[in-house]
Amino acid sequence: MSDMTSPSRRILRRVSNGVLLLIGLSFALPLLWLVLAAFDSSASLTLKLPEHWTLDNFSTVLTPEQTFIPILNSIILSGGCAIITVVVAVLAAYPLSRYKMRVNKPFLYGILFGTGLPITAMMVPVYSLFVAFNLIDSVPGVILFMAATSLPIAIWMMKNFMDSVPIVLEEAAWIDGASMLTTLTRVVVPLMRPGIAVVFIFVFVGSWGNFFVPFVLLLSPELQPAAVTIYAFFGQYGAVVYGQLAAFSLVYSVPVLALYVFTSRVLGGSSALAGAVKG
């Protein structure tokens, strides 16, 4: 179609290309700083090509205290949160998707309502509750809280994915006398692996990037995930060693970028996400 171009259409095309490139460039500048500063021995706050390319920033920050323990903490928090969320969401999505029950409607409306609540607004009362129940610095406590905040959207997405799994096979299992749990784990779950992976990655990436929740609820430095230690690093040395800060940020961002690429290339993630949004 695009080759049967009239002159006006060609002009339109050129203008769109130009405007797009300009927007793309302004989106690129802050990102470019991050990448170049990480390889610069004398990085400043301004975007510039490094005079001396170096990997020193990386070798300086790639130590157990600086990077590996915080990253491990991030893996524990995000992995724990994503596993719990996915298991609980699959369970909850099953009756919502398969049975016509009186609780469905209020439950689903409650879930949708929950997706809209500003979680950051809750951090002050959540902190008080965690103090009252002696859960400050409790990693399981933080994992459960993050799982609860991810649950509404996870259940919603999971139910949408489950709705698209045909019911015929389950009926066969039912007639053979399989229990609800057996049907779910043996028949439904294997059929919706891509959907489950999308939800898992969605939740994992969300908690990986979560700064505010662990910042408020985990006070011991040895328990804090990378998001929080990066902030502490910025407060302590940030004004001096931007190169190291950028290097640390890149190391911390790579898993998330990789998971995003995997989701969108292998699982068709962005369209799945848009599908979840469109409802």
Binding site: R13, S16, N17, L20, I23, G24, F27, A28, L29, P30, L31, L34, A37, L45, T46, L47, V88, L91, A92, L96, Y99, R102, V103, L108, F113, T115, L117, P118, T120, A121, M122, V124, P125, V126, Y127, S128, L144, F145, L151, I155, I175, D176, G177, M180, G209, N210, F211, V216, A227, I230, Y231, F234, S249, Y252, V256, L257, A274, V277, K278, G279
Partner: protein, 310 residues
């Protein structure tokens, strides 16, 4: 036909499961909901309830009131409503919502989606990747990148300097502009993806026949494309508003709510009152108000969406 109907109307078969009827059956069927309900009740509902309750007490993190808290009625709210910072914060929050979510992300996101329809494929994918990258990055990293960009000695002022303009110290002189632009930079990808998906559903032939009839690009956009995707627009407006309402990290890292409280939107002010000034009751009152605002938006959003719940 729903699964339960299928099961009920099936006359033969060894077992028509589950056999229990009425209350027992629906109780059995809803058991898988229990873990979710427990988790949501303990970690989502309880904080909300305690937020409402806590906003009527004098609880504090340090000092005498830290031990036990007493019920003080509406005093926190009275204190809040007599605090000029609170009104300023509401105004800043509205400014942030309108500038960043309603205008910035939605207009730019729709604009990008439209431009990408008529652009070169390579340019489209490069620009798309760049826009999505700033969205996929962890928020704290994006916040640092934005901090460096808008810093007095950052990239933006260096660029302005190279054409002879002395840029202002964005983070101090114009903190709201800086955080609005930063949040647009960070959040537009979401709107772009949603609008790209919506535009791909707009039937091509409608547009083409309008073009035959001599309708120009702008006319086609206003009279054809926008009405067709209006459902998506209202949904996306609500979603971006809700996301932006709870933005904390990007503001906290870039300006810390400062200078003073010049960029303290409500989430940042709640944090400052509770943790910086140890006014837990006041912070909780702000949190409660924010939750109420979020709840109102959420209800409007659900009504606009009219999800296929039934």
């Amino acid at each position: 036909m729903s699964p339960s109907q299928l099961l009920v109307t099936r006359p033969r078969g060894r077992t028509v499961r589950p056999r229990a009827s009425g209350f027992g059956r629906s109780a059995l069927r809803s058991t898988p909901l229990v873990p979710a309900l427990i988790l949501l009740a303990l970690f989502l509902l309880a904080p909300i309830v305690s937020s409402f309750y806590g906003s009527f007490t004098d609880s504090a993190l340090t000092g005498g009131a830290a031990q036990g808290s007493t019920f003080i009625g509406l005093k926190n709210y009275a204190k809040l409503f007599s605090n000029p910072d609170f009104y300023k914060s509401i105004w800043l929050t509205i400014l942030f919502l309108v500038g960043s979510a309603i205008v910035g992300q939605n207009v730019l996101g729709l604009g990008l989606a439209l431009l990408m329809q008529t652009s070169n494929r390579i340019i489209r994918s490069v620009v798309g990747t760049l826009v999505v990258s700033s969205w996929v990055l962890p928020e704290i990293v994006a916040a640092f990148a934005a901090y460096a960009f808008f810093h007095n000695k950052g990239t933006l002022n260096a660029m302005l300097g190279s054409v002879g303009i002395t840029g202002p110290d964005w983070l101090y002189a114009l903190p709201m502009i800086a955080i609005i632009l930063a949040n647009v930079w960070r959040g537009t990808a979401f709107s772009m993806l949603v609008y790209t998906a919506a535009l791909s559903d707009v039937p091509q032939d409608v547009n083409e026949s309008a073009e035959m009839d001599g309708a120009g690009g702008v006319k086609r956009l206003v009279y054809i494309t926008l009405p067709i995707i209006r459902q998506t627009i209202s949904t996306n407006l609500m979603l971006t508003t809700l996301q932006t309402l709870s933005a904390f990290t990007i503001i906290y890292v870039m300006t810390g709510g400062g200078p003073g409280t010049n960029s303290s939107t409500l989430p940042v002010l709640a944090y400052q009152e509770a943790f910086k000034f140890s006014q837990l009751g006041l912070g909780t009152a702000i949190a409660t108000i924010l939750l109420l605002i979020g709840a109102v938006f959420s209800v409007i959003y659900i009504r606009a969406l009219k999800p296929g719940v039934d």
